[in-house]
Structure formats: structure tokens, C-alpha cells
Symmetry: C2
Subunit: 372 residues, 2 copies
């Protein structure tokens, strides 16, 4: 195999992530690498923490970016808060709820599943029943914004139920952070993880996480060591902590953190409320364009995610060939269906830097042309 330099095309990324990365972020990414213990880098990490606290709307001191993708952020929450023998109530209304179950079981704990239909939000009444039926449960885990279906669940209501039953919450905010309201402190969420490559529009590979003081207390009272050394947050905190000397844990992904710093700064400069509004407005515009093409949404309006639009593939249309033509002829990526929705749905993302009028115009016209 003769291999030469890889030069990617310029795509418009309207799938479920990664989203379009702004030139500002790419430029930050390519700054010269400095040492991960360099005082200037350590100072930048403190700023990343502060910017993440703003994005998560939290004052949790333990707010960092895990040095790996969102799946590792998910695992960091589970392995640190759960011990073998625990019972965890897991809500499943798409692919990522089932991945939560995998995590629970690999911790040697029992997952009590609360199932809802794909495309529907988690039903608080079912959760309340599960909490009543399982008083031994210590954690309630749910997905705020299901990337596989585009459905938004009521994190505030689910968290209130968990609190009533003395459970901590683990919340998947991979697709919600920066795209729709997520108020970690006001809603009293305990362990929340996200991804860099969705509504933050940073490059993929980092997972912002935040842990409430209640979650930290639970970690400190563990009887067993965390099964993952890499994700053991008691060790990671020694590295991210601003107090005194940093202790070496692993080599941080220096350049990716430059990029995250810049993308969070862009969010702060725009303002979180303005970013939510922009996602909402762009969703409305996309919706009117898609409806004009006769394309129907899979998720009902009240719990539809503006940043991830799951739509039914029209009858008689070949899924793969449409996506392939959009990619090859228009440099436009839209997402395939995942799991139960494979072949039945497209997922059109409007996340972060992607949520711009020109992208919606391109998508509407290209779809119109390709669908004939």
C-alpha cells in the first residue's frame, strides 16, 4: 500500500456528531504543543474548568474533561459511583440507555430497566414506580437527550424523583450540553457527562463531566477500588485540582484541550441562552423546509430535540444511496438511523457551529434534488 498525505474534503456535518468545527477551533487546535505540566497549560486547564462550569450551569468544583470520548465519560460516571452489588435504575428509550445497562452490569451491579418506546421521552410515572419497587437502589441513570432518536426527557422531574427516593443521578448529556437548557445545579443532577463533538462543536475525543458534592462524597466512601485505573476520578482529580501541586496521572491531550478551551470560549461569548435560542430557531427553519418536502418527524413536538432531528425515510426511498449522493455530490453528511431505527430514519443534526442558516439551505435543496 503506497500511502500519502491525507487531505480530507470540506464536508458539512449534519449528522449526529461530530458537528462542524469552527475555523477558530481548528486554529486553536494546531497551536504548538506544550508540556502537560507546563504552568501555562495548568492555567489553561483552570480556565477550561471555569468555562465548563458555565456551560453546565454548575458550581461543582469537580468539573473537568475526561481525556477520551463521551463513551469513556459515561464509563467514568458509572465506575466511580457504582460498586459491585449495587442496584441501579436505568431508563432505556434508545441506544444509549442500553449502553448504560452494559456499564452497570460490567460493574457487577444490577440494572433495573425502565423501558420506554424509542422516540418517546422517559416516563416519570414508570420511574417513580421503579424507585418505589426498588428501595435498595442507589442510583437513577437516564439519558437527557437520546442521540439515537432525538427525544428529550425531563431531567428536572426525573432528578426530583431520584432525590425523593434518596438516589443519586447519572445523566447522559452528550447531545444536550450547549443545545438545550441543562441546569445541573438547579436540577440537582449528580454525575453528568457530555461529548466535545456535539453542540460544543469541538473536535471529538474529550468528554466534559461534572460531579456534585454528593457524588464526590459517595466516591470517597467507596469500599472497593474503582475498577478502572485510567478513569479513577480520585486520581484524576489530583491532576485537575487547582490546589497546590498537580500530581501526574496521565498525559493530557494538550492540543484537544486548546480546542475545547476555544469552543467553550465561543459559547461563553455567544451566551448560553442565545445558543439555545439559535438551536431552537434553526430547528424551526429546518422543520418548515423538511415538511415542505413531505418529510415527517419521528418524535412528537413537545419533546423533540432541536439539535437532532430524527425523520422518517420516505416510502420507496433507498436510505444508503440518498446519503451517499448527499455526501459525494454535495459534501453533506446526514446521519443514518441507529439500532432499531437503522434503515427507517435519518438523523439530521443541527449542533453547535452546524446550526446556521446556510447549512439548512444546503440540506433542504440537496435533499429536494436527490429525492427528485
Amino acid at each position: 500500500m503506497t500511502i500519502s498525505r491525507f487531505i480530507p474534503p470540506q464536508r458539512t456535518l449534519m449528522g449526529p456528531g461530530p458537528s462542524d468545527v469552527s475555523p477558530r477551533v481548528l486554529q486553536a487546535l494546531s497551536q504548538p504543543t506544550i508540556g502537560h505540566l507546563d504552568p501555562l497549560f495548568v492555567g489553561m486547564m483552570d480556565e477550561v474548568k471555569a468555562l465548563l462550569q458555565y456551560a453546565f450551569q454548575t458550581e461543582n468544583p469537580f468539573t473537568i474533561a475526561v481525556s477520551a470520548p463521551g463513551s469513556a465519560g459515561m464509563e467514568a460516571c458509572f465506575v466511580n459511583l457504582i460498586e459491585a452489588g449495587d442496584t441501579v435504575i436505568v431508563c432505556r428509550n434508545g441506544v444509549f440507555g442500553d449502553r448504560m445497562r452494559e456499564n452497570v452490569e460490567r460493574c457487577g451491579a444490577t440494572a433495573v430497566m425502565v423501558d420506554d418506546e424509542w422516540g418517546k421521552p422517559v416516563d416519570p410515572a414508570k420511574v417513580e414506580q421503579a424507585l418505589r419497587d426498588n428501595p435498595q437502589a442507589s442510583v437513577l441513570a437516564f439519558v437527557h437527550a437520546e442521540t439515537s432518536t432525538g427525544a428529550l426527557s425531563d431531567a428536572k422531574a426525573l432528578s426530583a424523583l431520584a432525590k425523593e427516593h434518596d438516589c443519586l443521578t447519572i445523566v447522559d448529556a452528550v447531545t444536550s450540553l450547549g443545545g438545550v437548557p441543562l441546569l445541573v445545579d438547579e436540577w440537582q443532577l449528580d454525575a453528568v457527562y457530555s461529548g466535545s463533538q456535539k453542540c460544543l462543536s469541538c473536535v471529538p475525543g474529550l468528554s466534559p463531566v461534572t460531579f456534585s458534592p454528593r457524588a464526590v462524597e459517595k466516591m470517597q466512601k467507596r469500599e472497593q477500588k474503582v475498577q478502572s485505573w485510567f478513569l479513577d476520578q480520585s486520581l484524576v482529580l489530583g491532576y485537575w485540582s487547582g490546589e497546590g501541586k498537580r500530581s501526574y496521572h496521565h498525559t493530557a491531550p494538550v492540543n484537544s484541550l486548546y480546542a475545547l478551551h476555544e469552543s467553550l470560549l465561543m459559547l461563553q461569548q455567544e451566551g448560553l441562552e442565545n445558543a439555545w435560542q439559535r438551536h431552537h430557531d434553526m430547528h424551526e427553519l429546518l422543520k418548515s423546509e423538511l415538511e415542505a418536502l413531505g418529510i415527517a418527524f419521528l418524535v412528537e413536538a413537545p419533546y423533540r430535540l432541536p439539535q437532532l432531528n430524527a425523520v422518517a425515510i420516505p416510502d420507496g426511498v433507498d436510505d444508503a444511496s440518498v446519503r451517499s449522493r448527499l455526501l459525494n455530490e454535495y459534501n453533506l453528511e446526514i446521519g443514518a438511523g441507529l439500532g432499531a431505527l437503522a434503515g427507517k430514519a435519518w438523523r439530521i443534526g443541527l449542533m453547535g457551529h452546524t446550526a446556521r442558516k446556510e447549512n439548512i439551505a444546503l440540506c433542504a435543496k440537496a435533499l429536494k434534488d436527490v429525492l427528485g
Copy 2:
């Protein structure tokens, strides 16, 4: 806190990693992000596999980059090859051997430690004795090039002993890959992990790994599920496999993989033997400069790593203030001692793109000026 754009200085990185990243690699890093399931990206991943096979000198089909730093690559090897109740012989002659023990124990397995002095290589006679004394052991784990001390162990001899006693090997090649000979197939190593930010001079955040067919067979025969979902290589392989359709596992760190592709391409263009020779030659040059300053090496010549030079801090010299002056006045980073060598040693890295004459000139002159 008012936060503005972070603009790092241009440092010369002569610590234990990250090493200097070439402008070619930084340029590749900042190419536009494309989707992680884009056919063009999938094709690039196949090239990364082929280039990694060259770097590792292996034909192992299971040769990939873990989407996280070297510590996660280490953990990927342990959690996939070890099950609760197993016995693992772990060689410890520095910080990273002890981290291997942590990994073994967190898998619920027993670590039989073979200790050697810091700065010495692993003693094959002690390993042979441990293999004889522990016929139930299934894995021998050792560090090829100890980043904490700069000592090189005889991976070929240790692997031969393991084979005689029907053990698989897990080998830490974080600092050796690309800097000194590492012949995975010829030496019959089974699970080998490295880091992107050492002699490959890519940005930190990825961990090249390779698994022999024997290691893959052992994974396939596991009785228990791998305790980590993120690092379960049976799932990851479905994503990296070139055969048929890719299955989604996690979102790959797209831009970091562009950078790894470019850094591996540079290694291929230079030629692996030439890269080893360059590290050797630059080490000889650094040695003569340091000896002229009266600075002594901690590791004896026969097993001294050319790419990581651990030297004794001269009597009466203040460790922190020298490193701080080098950094602030000369933009030059050298490494502190780690663990037992903290405050006693400096670690001067000559890894990858850092191993150039101009950097040695800078280091020698700056040290001379600062030490007075």
C-alpha cells in the same frame, strides 16, 4: 475570571513527553473534521493500521490506536487479557511497572512482583525464577523502556522466557516505539501498547496497540465480559475492522487520527532504522555535551535509552529553580524526576522530532548558563 483566547508559547520539549510536534503534524491535525463513519475517514484508518504495523514491525491484523492516552492503552491490554482469579507476573523497575500492578489488581487478579532497582533493567534470571515458582501464571508483564528511569530491558529475552512457560506477554512500549528497535513479530510479543506523544511526535491522546493472534485467541476464550465497555477490544475491533461494514462503537478522535497518520507517514518516509540511528546519534551528542558539564547519567551505558536521558542533578543545585529558568528564559522544557527519583534526577528527552542537533545545542548552552 475574564478568559481570552489561549496562545501558547513555542517551547522546545525535551522532557519525557510530549515531544516536539512537527509543523507537518500540526497542519494535518487542523484539517477540517469529517464524520468518523465517512468512507474517506474509514480508508484513512486502514492506512493508520498499515503504518502502525510497520512501526511495530508486525503483521498482526489487530493493530489499532486506542482513542485515549497511553494509560488507557495499558488498561486495554490488561482488562482484555486478564480475568479475575488469574496470576500475572509483573516486573517493576520504575513507576510504570507499579502501574501495571494496579491494573492487574483492579482486574481481580493476583500480581506476582519481580522487583529490580530503579534505573536497572529487568533481570531475566529473576523472571525465570518467578515463572518457575508460579506455574499457574498466564501472563508476564514488563516495561520495555521505563520512562521514569530511562532504562531499557531485554524484551526479546523476557518474551522467550514467557513462551517457555506458556505465558502471554503484555509489553509497555510507550517510550520505545520509534526510538529503539522493537520487533513485535520477531520477538513474539503478544500485547504491546504505546503512546502517540513520545518517539512518534504526534499530539498526546492516542495509544497505538497491537495484539498477536495468540492474544486475540485468549480474548475470544474469556469466561467473563471485559470489565470496561469503552476498552472492550472485541467491540472496538468491529469498528476498526476492514472487513465489511463498520459497526459504531464510539466517536473516534478524528483530528488526532489525522495527526497520527501524518506522524507515522513521516516515520515511514524516514525509515524505522534511520529513526533508531538518529536517536542513537543524538544521544551520543547530548552525552558528550552533558559530560562536559560534569553531569552524570543514572543508567549504565549498556541499557541506557537514547531517547530518555536520566541524569543526576548536580550537588547543591536547586531542581525546581533550574527547570523554571530553562522554561521561562529559554522556552526549554526538561523533565523532573518521577517517584523515587523526584528531586534527584532530570529526564532529558530526545524523542522523535525533538531529536535534532539544534535542540541539543540549545539544551547544552542553556544548562551551562543556568548552572553557572
